[in-house]
Symmetry: C2
Subunit: 301 residues, 2 copies
């Protein structure tokens, strides 16, 4: 089992109608690897500044996340500031300080050359080639993207799409990328551009999984107290890919793809119950299994 995650380790300053947190630890790599760690032992490749807390590195290690790919550079860690309204699906970026993440050029340690799954979480699409060029061919590659890259690097993103098997994006991003308002047509357009599986994340409305001869709709596990929606999408990807790595299924088995999406939804439903990664600190494997079972009941008829 080996899942390599390339993403950001960051500080987030978050304001929601229920509170504000200054410089708490976040980032796509953080959420994704913690989420995946409940299924497999992920490896992470990222860059941090000198201000990144040693406590978090210890937390990663205690969760058996291999951090040998985390590069420490002089300077400050990536810092994002965002604000949520009453609708958790709507967020505004207040400030983005890239800092050491600005010219992040992932270096894959020798120990990480062979991987079953590689996930490029919200990184510059130009880095897809940089990463894949340093490793032997994985069984599954996955990419997540954000509006910023769709707008600023459409060509690099197109090339990246040709190289990956699984593409994650939220509904707004999928529409922007394809200039298509209907999510099914949009997903079909993306499937024509390379990926075998397109996962459209819809926040509180769940996610849709599209593939050749595959369509699966998963609702979001209902949550009365969405404390902080940050990282829900990255956690979904972590749960999805972590599960596939655990069961060693790389895209051909549709039943496992469906189960992976449910585990993605389940793990994301925990992420949003507290600020930052706090819910993951106290999450037990039994809770995940329990919620998976309750989820089954929730949608059965």
């Amino acid at each position: 089992m080996s899942l390599l995650i390339v993403g950001s380790l960051a500080f987030d300053t978050i304001e929601t109608p229920w509170g504000r947190r200054e410089k708490i630890v976040g980032g796509s790599g953080t959420y994704c690897s913690l989420a995946a760690s409940f299924f497999t032992q992920p490896r992470i490749v990222a860059v941090v500044g000198e201000d990144f807390p040693a406590e978090i590195m210890k937390l990663f290690e205690s969760r058996r996340i291999d951090t040998r790919g985390v590069e420490l550079r002089s300077g400050k860690t990536f810092h994002w500031e965002g604000r949520y309204g009453f609708d958790p699906n709507q967020r505004t970026t207040v400030k983005t300080e890239l800092n050491v993440f600005g010219d992040f050029r992932p270096r894959i340690p020798a120990e990480f050359k062979d991987n079953d799954i590689i996930f490029l979480a919200n990184v510059d699409p130009d880095l897809v080639e940089v990463v894949l060029g340093q490793v032997s061919r994985p069984k599954l590659t996955a990419l997540d993207t954000i509006n910023f890259w769709i707008q600023t690097k459409p060509e690099a993103l197109s090339k990246a799409l040709e190289r990956v098997d699984v593409f994650f994006a939220n509904d707004e991003e999928v529409k922007m990328l394809t200039r298509e308002v209907n999510l099914i047509r949009a997903a079909k357009k993306i499937l024509e551009r390379g990926p075998k599986i397109v996962i459209t994340k819809k926040g509180e409305h769940g996610a849709l999984v599209f593939g050749r001869d595959l369509f699966f709709g998963v609702i979001a596990h209902p949550c009365e107290d969405v404390v902080d929606p940050t990282g829900a999408g990255d956690s979904f990807a972590g749960g999805f890919l972590g599960y596939l790595d655990k069961v060693q299924s790389f895209g051909a088995n549709k039943k496992e793809i469906r189960k992976a999406a449910v585990f993605g939804s389940v793990i994301a439903s925990f992420a949003i119950e507290d600020f930052g990664i706090d819910r993951f600190r106290r999450l037990a494997a039994a809770e995940i299994e329990e919620r998976f079972q309750s989820f089954k009941k929730l949608v059965s008829f």
Copy 2:
């Protein structure tokens, strides 16, 4: 089996990015009774003006909808005009001409005194009492409402809520009614006000069914070509209640509630495939069953 529907028979003028239709037949009662007619033989109580097409009354009869409660008055039929953007969940009302519907006071024919289920579809909340006062106690009462009544008649709506078992509303309405942004908390608040079941319709994101010890999430059947979203919610209600009437289940059997919601979603997914009620004109029972089965596959894991 007897399902009584009190609602509007209307003309709709509809503009979508894909076309415009002038004065085609619509209305909550129309969509709901046609949808229900695929499961049971509904009775309809409504008012029309002299301009309402005889052809539609014949269509109702051919679908075994009992139209003895349709009152013909001198004047014009209710006429609504609306516009949809590229996002079918967003619509703007351009014009509302109530005409004979303006002072609609439902008179229940003697033949309709006994009903298993009564549905008040988007009518003035003051009419709930007017209708229920004319009939013997049904086994199940249901109410749908719209923003307009939430804003203009909150007290009458509160009273109406105390009288009904099932309450339908879309997500925006549920939030407005409860001043609560979280849909689960909103539904719980409404459950405290009377109804045993609250169904939150979320358009392309499906619907959530809440009850005491009941939570069920149903996605919308994926549709690549949403031609006209008008009537989807009314069709959902018609399918939901029509199915419950068919199986003679009035709220206690949770499994039937879940199945009813899936049939509601299935029938709504047909309604939006063509302008107005056109898809219902050529819909076959076998298609409904087939889509129900494909729906099962869609959400199973």
